[in-house]
């Protein structure tokens, strides 16, 4: 499949335009689902930093926990106060 077609299809399904970027979904400030993670760089109850390949996603808050982790996705729950993209 050509890159052009791939981008058209992603637009049709309202998906992020580039494959390599993570898909992040928030449920208020209590839960965030991150698809496309490459690893956990820091894990504490105040801050969780996730490597997503092109950038690092830093989630700050209180009582943060990783509810479920698989090789490409993870769910963070807790009281989220900030989101930082470190490129």
């Amino acid at each position: 499949m050509s890159k052009n077609n791939q981008q058209k299809r992603r637009r049709l399904y309202e998906l992020p335009p580039v494959n390599s970027l993570p898909c992040i979904e928030f449920s208020g400030n209590r839960e965030v689902v991150i698809e496309g993670s490459r690893g956990v760089m820091e894990y504490s109850t105040d801050c969780i930093r996730i490597n997503t390949g092109g950038m690092v996603l830093a989630i700050g808050g209180r009582g943060l926990n990783l509810r479920c982790i698989s090789d490409s996705a993870l769910i963070i729950e807790g009281f989220i106060l900030s989101v930082e993209f470190i490129v």
């Binding site: 690893g39 926990n65 982790i69």
Partner: protein, 391 residues
């Protein structure tokens, strides 16, 4: 819910991770496609959950990432099975229970029939049994629609029926065919004849020509009201004769009873036999009988129905009462009473459509028998319609 069940079936471990870089341990685990859930960070300790099989593999990676693992909790079916693995009886019992429940659910436990009016329940049960539906029948072999179709074809009284199988319970709903009412023909020409010999008291002819008068005698088969009538042009016309012919009729009956009768009397000896009915087949639990040849027996069945669910198991108690023959000589009074009782039954059943005007009863004793001769004079409608013409 489903995820929790799957985790329980596979078995899981809650463990703690201690070390300088627990993140490194998480990344190594994820890179090897090992799943983690329920992670919690408390100070420098991290706790997480993992499938049991994955945990065995992850211990190797823990050494590489410089952390120490410690199991906090083990849960799941494999743990339970391992704990009770030396209690073979318990495992066999549990397996036997599961197999028994599975096997029992393949058979019919009870049949409920509703909607019967003229057809008896036992008759319907027999029809269902002929078509393979009975207590203890193999459920997957029953084709409910074929059974209802076959019974509807076999018995014309069944107008509609449905066989519903819910688990091991069969409910049969029936609507009986309502018979079409007999319509009396008013156009077919016929005569009214006498059904019995007698003396005519009154003739109420609604149609037809009266051939006899009140007070005259009549013999069975004689025309009382004719369906052949003269018309004004000198010809004849045939009509549907209809009449009520009230006549006095005579009945004669004789009842006898021997002077010495043989009766059966219970000796007082009672024996009880128990048997278990499981899926329609009986298994005797106790044996034994009474000392006499002549026996009277009755049977009672007790079925457990916990929570109003009929089970295919019942305990049948059969009581045997020993009887002995006794010769009894009747005296005049008891013989007369016995014969009069028979005469009353005769009046009740044979003379049910008559009004008994006079009865003459003679009681005689001759030789070995007592006899009762009864002569009745009754009033009844002796009219019977008979078609004019040849068959």
């Amino acid at each position: 819910m489903i995820l929790n069940l799957l985790r329980y079936l596979r078995g899981w471990v809650r463990f703690s991770v201690r070390g300088r870089y627990p993140e490194r341990f998480i990344n190594i685990a994820l890179r090897n496609r090992l799943r983690l859930w329920g992670t919690e960070r408390r100070g420098d300790e991290l706790t997480a959950c993992m499938y049991m099989r994955d945990y065995r593999a992850v211990r190797r990676y823990a050494r590489g990432s410089g952390v120490r693992l410690r199991v906090r909790e083990r849960r799941g079916l494999p743990i339970l099975l391992r704990r009770y693995s030396d209690r073979t009886g318990l495992i066999i019992g549990a397996a036997a229970f599961v197999i028994t429940v599975f096997v029992m659910s393949l058979f019919i436990w009870s049949i409920d029939i509703t909607g019967l009016d003229t057809i008896s329940v036992s008759e319907m049960r027999a029809l269902l049994k002929e078509n393979g539906v009975s207590v203890g029948a193999f459920r997957p072999a029953i084709d409910d629609s074929a059974v209802s179709r076959s019974i509807m074809l076999a018995d014309q009284r069944v107008g509609w029926m449905a066989v519903n199988i819910t688990g091991s319970y069969v409910s049969v709903e029936i609507k009986e065919e309502s018979p079409s009412p007999e319509v009396e023909s008013i156009v077919d020409p016929c005569n009214v004849k006498a059904r019995r010999d007698g003396r005519i008291i009154r003739i109420d002819a609604q149609q037809g020509r009266t051939a006899l008068k009140a007070g005259s005698g009549v013999v069975a088969g004689q025309v009382v009201v004719s369906g052949v009538m003269d018309d004004q042009l000198g010809g004849v016309r045939l009509v549907h004769a209809k009449a009520v012919v009230l006549a006095e009729t005579d009945y004669h009956a004789q009842f006898t009873v021997p002077k010495t009768v043989t009766t059966y009397r219970p000796t007082g000896e009672v024996k009880q036999r128990l048997s278990a009915d499981i899926f329609g087949s009986r298994i005797p639990l106790t044996v034994g009988g009474v000392s006499t040849v002549d026996v009277l027996s009755d049977e009672t069945a007790a079925s457990p129905d916990p929570l109003h669910v009929a089970l295919p198991i019942s305990l049948i108690t059969r009581r045997l009462y020993a009887l002995e023959q006794q010769e009894m000589t009747l005296d005049d009074n008891s013989a007369k009473e016995l014969l009069l009782r028979e005469a009353r039954l005769y009046e009740l059943f044979t003379l049910s459509g008559c009004t008994v005007k006079k009865r003459d009863v003679h009681f005689t004793s001759s030789g070995d028998v007592y006899a009762l001769t009864a002569d009745y004079i009754c009033t009844e409608n002796i009219a019977v319609q008979e078609k004019i013409g040849t068959e």
